[in-house]
Amino acid sequence: MGDIAFNLLIFFVILARANDDSFLNWQPARAKNLEAAGYAKASVLIDADSRLFLNGRQLGMSQLPQQIGELLGDAPAGQRTVLLKVHREAQALYYEPVIEAISEAGGDLVHVLEELKE
């Protein structure tokens, strides 16, 4: 009985992570004084090959504003967090339009970074 419950638990944990982007290849930039990113409705990632992903699914830049808008919907302020994960060597040509798109969609932008230890 316990085994079955345990396996079910693992099954649902894996399902909950279906939109995860942890399998993508990117290295975060480093900065000081970071805070916990918290729960986010959307996670945008630019990987080491400058490919764009929204919640783990690859998409084009032209689709991004609309898709973020749909994900955020009419969520009130404070619940419109969008995580931005950008590979540290990605170029402005790729990440600046993404930052603008998040801003246009009314998302609360959180750059996901790595703590810089002194």
Binding site: D3, F6, N7, I10, V13, I14, R17, D21, S22, P28, A29, R30, A31, K32, N33, L34, E35, A36, A37, I46, L83, V86, H87, R88, E89, A90, Q91, A92, L93, Y95, E96, P97, I99, E100, S103, E104, G106, D108, L109, V110, H111, V112, L113, E114, E115
Partner: protein, 142 residues
Amino acid sequence: MKVRRSTKLLVEPSAVTTGDIAFNLIVFFLVCASSAPDSGRRQNIPRSETVPQQKEKSQHVEVQLTRTTMAINGDVVRPRDFVPQLRRLLAGKPRLEDRVVVVKSRPEVPYHHWITATSGIEEAGGIITIQREEEREVQIPQ
């Protein structure tokens, strides 16, 4: 004299289940282990709007970024002087709209350099606005 014999037998759990338990434990820790960073920095960037290029010089502070350098209002500054110089420029500006700092980046600017610069702007009390040159398709008549 009567000697009492203990009737308790040593009962060992079946060794067959050991593999199952080990497998479940491996799966559990694999699922739980996450190497993804979960800390970050919140950044408020006002919504941008497309406006025609103005002839007159903007009153806002401008930060220009290239691949390796930072410049404030056209003057290249050393990284350690970046925040103090911005603080000086923003010191006499109590209104929020006057504290806007326009960030202009070359297309090749790496993200870590951009983060360093924008973190410095926020540390100095500035409000970041991105200014990007629009890309336009030009059709050559045949």
